[in-house]
Symmetry: C2
Subunit: 193 residues, 2 copies
């Protein structure tokens, strides 16, 4: 049996990312965003949805650039704080002891302490209601070298201790139960006895 | 130090949902989607991005409706399978022993075995490249009663055992490390000794 609810935002678990924006002259800011996702693989594109009254909304609109910084366990409390506070009242980088890093060609800094930062250039802003959706093209992905596998040159995202946001709660990722395609893998032959 | 990658889809962890579509006459289908998210709170809106050559793409385009069905541990293997196989070759509901349920006003069934199903009506399709983004308004949220708290009438999503998708792996959710706003909560006064 089902209980029927009115329309609501119940799509979980989702990422909770720290979006960094701004420029050296006017100042940098961070806003934590859960309404985010990948919208296209080729070209790689992401979106973030932001309320128009949020301080970062106009900063991103004016500069055209932002970074999506993934959040791990060490950053979780700062992410929550940056989602509650406003950059109008406080310098979030300073308050959270985070480091903005300039990246050539981007009118936004990335957060040094994040394991992975995605450089995004706004292509379109769609007004939907409570939120404006910023549709953006990914231009670079910056990975913290401590998670790079020196043998394979691949980024070991599974070691980065990322968090998920689940209906009001921040959770660590738990047990890995399968990988993409595992349902159609051929079973290993039974060992000869 | 940072390693700089070319543009890629590295925004994780994300949901992996089973999108159900189709009608009783032409048949029902399921496609598993990780490029999905909430894009607006009021009105509640979601998106899914789908490659044009996927069987479900035209079904959703023609019917205008789909359900986003959240995936828990019990559904994880079926979700992986529905992401790899095509509805052109097989009836996924039958093959995975899943139950399509009609819902009045929707040209799509929901999946009975999912803990929570989100009814979505397509408003706009944006061609981005490899993927088309279906922008949709949420009209209803259907929750399995077994996760309803009889005291509060609230849905206990944290009990639904949802999975996250993290760079090719399906993971259970692990330890809860905080809830929204916990970084600014007043600390409880120290107990008098």
């Amino acid at each position: 049996m089902r209980t029927i609810f009115k329309p609501g935002t119940m799509l979980y678990p989702i990422p909770a990312v720290m979006v960094s924006c701004g420029n050296a002259t006017d100042g940098y800011n961070i806003i934590t965003i859960a309404w985010t996702g990948t919208i296209c693989s080729d070209p790689a594109m992401c979106y973030i949805s932001v309320r128009p009254n949020r301080y970062s909304h106009d900063i991103i609109k004016q500069n055209g650039d932002f970074f999506i910084n993934l959040v791990n366990r060490d950053l979780a409390q700062a992410a929550d704080w940056c989602g509650v506070k406003s950059g109008r009242d406080v310098n979030k980088f300073q308050a959270m002891h985070l480091t903005p890093v300039h990246f050539d060609g981007m009118n936004a800094p990335y957060i040094k302490e994040s394991p992975l930062s995605i450089a995004c250039k706004v292509q379109q802003i769609i007004e939907l209601g409570s939120h404006d959706m910023f549709i953006a093209q990914v231009t670079h992905v910056l990975a913290d070298n401590q998670y790079m596998d020196p043998r394979t040159d691949k980024f070991r995202l599974e070691d980065a201790d990322l968090i998920a946001y689940n209906h009001g709660s921040y959770c660590l990722l738990g047990k890995k139960i399968g990988k993409f395609g595992w349902s159609v893998e051929k079973k290993k032959k039974a060992k000869k006895s």
